[in-house]
């Protein structure tokens, strides 16, 4: 039990570190690696739950989640950036060092907030909920502060990850078909987003949204 708890703390910490890495890097390939690592780590969380009721269900979930979040989606995103030949985020709205400082602050805030709202009484471990909240803040930040559409997709993935962590920590196990539905929706969502990226690239020769702001007001 104590060892499981220790491992859990390390996994949660690694997820937060992935968040900071995503904020620090400008290279899209680096970001994809970061989100893949995060997806992989997060998929392991169900294994660390105390007394899982249904073993088969748990292993199936871990397997699917690792496959989709750790392998399929990152590979697909790699392909997408290779085709559009745009490897870096250019001129983000918020600089990288400032982003990292933001990341550290919101992570600290999330762990502080957790004690306040008393969410820890219903979650499996205090780490889960705080990690989820911190990750959600980072995901939203990436979507808002980055101009590149691929960075925004990664922000969306990070946000989805935070929902997954929260789900694991609170509902422990949902009916399997709902979890499958969630993963499937995520997968299809990314496929569609990448298709949109290709559309945007062929029409505008860039995947930065800077030049794509004709629809305002």
């Amino acid at each position: 039990m104590a060892m499981k708890f220790n491992i859990l703390a390390w996994v949660s910490l690694s997820i937060v570190v992935c968040n900071l890495y995503l904020l620090a890097t400008s290279r899209l390939s680096g970001m994809i690696r970061g989100v893949a690592a995060q997806g992989f780590l997060m998929s392991l969380l169900p294994l660390l739950l105390p007394n899982p009721a249904e073993k088969a269900h748990m292993f199936l979930l871990v397997f699917l989640s690792v496959a989709i979040k750790g392998v399929i989606i990152p590979r697909y995103l790699y392909q997408a950036i290779r085709e559009v030949r745009e490897l870096r985020e250019v001129n983000p709205a918020v600089g990288y060092s400032l982003s990292v400082i933001y990341g550290i602050l919101v992570s600290a805030f999330a762990f502080y907030l957790l004690g306040k709202i008393g969410l820890s009484s219903v979650t499996v471990s205090p780490f889960h909920a705080a990690t989820a909240i911190a990750t959600a803040f980072i995901g939203i930040f990436l979507i808002v502060a980055r101009q590149n559409v691929v960075s925004q997709i990664i922000g969306y993935l990070v946000l989805e990850n935070s929902g997954f962590i929260l789900g694991i920590s609170i509902a422990a196990f949902q009916p399997l078909f709902i979890e499958m539905g969630v993963l499937l929706d995520m997968l299809v969502g990314v496929f569609i987003m990448v298709m949109a990226v290709n559309h945007i690239y062929t029409e505008h020769d860039t995947i930065s949204l800077r030049k794509l702001e004709r629809l305002t007001r």
């Binding site: 979650t123 989805e160 539905g181 929706d185 569609i192 945007i200």
Partner: protein, 495 residues
């Protein structure tokens, strides 16, 4: 048994329709398939309605389907709007193809996505399981994002991106709300039943109130994003303006309502858990007024006709939120407003689409004299907009009046004042837009459209007659039906 069969019938008909579209050889007449299928589904939903009145049961398929009056109202609304719009689309796309703006291969994709979209919306409504409801609503975003893109609109890809991104983020919030609801309901026995609305309602006293309130905030923001409530509405004007007209019509006419329906389902659970303290309602009141204020600020400066209509949707979703936020008579008014808004907005989009093609622009500064220059759709535009902005004695006026009356009878004069102020500001600026388009010298006509079809006349007249009728007289059967639907939100309806 009858109801189970009709529900299977909905999905079977839609699935067969999709398959039929896939193998259909002639793309020119492929649009008849969605029209035929939606007619079948609509007739089935009438049978469902009769069946539901005969039996008392509301839970079907081992409690996985919840079909009470509230759900039935939305099912009929979805099916009716899809029927009208599918029929309208047959003429709309025919004109586009003749003008060479649209690719034939587009139509096949369109028809398949269209039917899938309708099926998913029905699944959201019928689901008693909060997880399935979430998954289905997320899937509607994915399916419908492709409906926005068309070759005719170069900016549609940008609109689609915004729609996809903003609604996906919103839906993640809704997911967290769903999870938090389950967390709040932990004391209810049995893991599976934590996900069922009927169980949550029956054991609301066991739900942790603080967590449930937190969950409801996530639910209101998350589903509110998809329902077009301000300040999460920013995808809406883009998507509505860039999508093909039939798509704009169903987006505005039913998709927003279905997202709102999810909030309506969570509201009684939250209120019951909080012991009727009204905190959940005040969240809706806040979002409703934000929407009204955003609409009041942005409607005057619109130049694009369809963007103007999109901001009207933000306004009307705000009115529905205010009605729900007030409760009591306000809930009844909100449901009536849902019906009124759907029908008038569908009609407004139909005519706006034709006006846009007629003048080859949607810039309202370059459109005038539509009533005299465009037969059928010109006058229909004028009338439907009068209904939409709440001119007496039409039905939208009636539901807005009831909302004000609800606030008045509760002694909430600040709500009355703010509501009337926003409604008046929107009324004046909208009327200015409408007058400019409808009357004045005819200029700038680029294309002469084919004559309006008989079926188009029929659609327009039926909808207008309905909107006038509901304004002056609500038939007793329909009134009782709405009362029962409102009771499902107010008191849980005793599931």
């Amino acid at each position: 048994m009858l109801i189970e069969i009709t529900i299977i019938g909905f999905f079977l008909a839609l699935a067969l329709g999709v398959a039929f579209c896939f193998w259909f050889p002639d793309p020119r007449s492929i649009l008849r398939i969605p029209a035929a299928v939606s007619l079948v589904v609509f007739l089935l939903s009438l049978v469902t309605a009769l069946g539901l009145l005969a039996t008392g049961s509301r839970l079907f398929f081992a409690r996985n389907v919840l079909l009470d009056q509230l759900a039935l109202l939305h099912v009929i609304l979805v099916n009716l709007v899809f029927l009208f719009t599918s029929v309208y689309a047959t003429g709309y796309f025919k004109d586009k193809i003749r003008a060479g703006i649209l690719d034939l291969s587009y139509l096949k994709r369109f028809c398949m996505l269209w039917l899938t979209f309708q099926g998913l919306l029905l699944l959201v409504i019928l689901s008693n399981n909060i997880g399935v409801m979430w998954v289905a609503l997320e899937a509607t975003t994915l399916v419908s994002s492709f409906l926005i893109i068309s070759d005719a609109e170069p900016l549609s890809i940008e609109a689609m991106w915004k729609y996809l991104m903003i609604c996906s983020v919103g839906i993640v919030f809704a997911f967290m709300g769903t999870i938090l609801t389950v967390a709040a309901a932990k004391n209810i026995q049995g893991q599976d039943s934590l996900f069922l609305f009927s169980q949550l309602l029956a054991h609301a006293d066991l739900i942790n109130p603080r967590l449930m309130l937190l969950a409801f905030i996530f639910i209101a923001v998350g589903f509110g994003t998809k329902a077009g409530l301000a300040p999460m509405h920013t995808w809406l004007p883009d998507a509505h303006s860039q999508a093909p007209t039939p798509v704009s019509a169903v987006f505005s006419g039913v998709m927003l309502n279905v997202a709102f329906y999810c909030i309506m389902r969570y509201l009684p659970v939250t209120e019951a858990a909080l012991g009727g303290s009204g905190q959940a309602r005040s969240i809706l009141l806040l979002l409703g007024f934000l929407s009204l204020i955003f609409a009041a600020v942005f409607i005057p400066i619109q130049t694009d006709l369809k963007r103007f209509l999109a901001y009207c949707s933000v306004e009307h979703m705000g009115i529905i939120a205010v009605g729900l936020g007030l409760g009591g008579l306000g809930t009844f008014a909100a449901l009536l407003h849902t019906v009124n808004h759907s029908f008038s907005k569908v009609l407004a989009f139909f005519s706006a689409g034709h006006i846009g093609d007629h003048y080859r622009t949607r810039d309202m500064r370059h459109i005038s004299g539509a009533v005299s220059s465009l037969p059928l759709w010109g006058p229909v535009f004028f009338l439907s907009l009068l209904v939409l902005i709440g001119v007496a004695p039409f039905s939208v006026f009636m539901s807005e009046f009831l909302t004000v009356k609800a606030a008045f009878s509760q002694g909430r004069y600040l709500v009355v004042g703010l509501f009337l102020f926003c409604a008046l500001a929107i009324f004046i600026s909208s009327l200015k837009h409408v007058m400019g388009i409808s009357f004045g010298g005819v200029k700038n006509i680029q294309a002469s459209m084919g004559k309006a079809r008989t079926i188009d006349w029929a659609i327009a007249l039926v909808l207008l007659a309905g909107l006038l009728l509901l304004g002056v007289w609500i038939p007793a059967v329909f009134g009782a039906f709405l009362q029962n639907a409102a009771a499902a939100i107010e008191g849980g309806g005793g599931l």
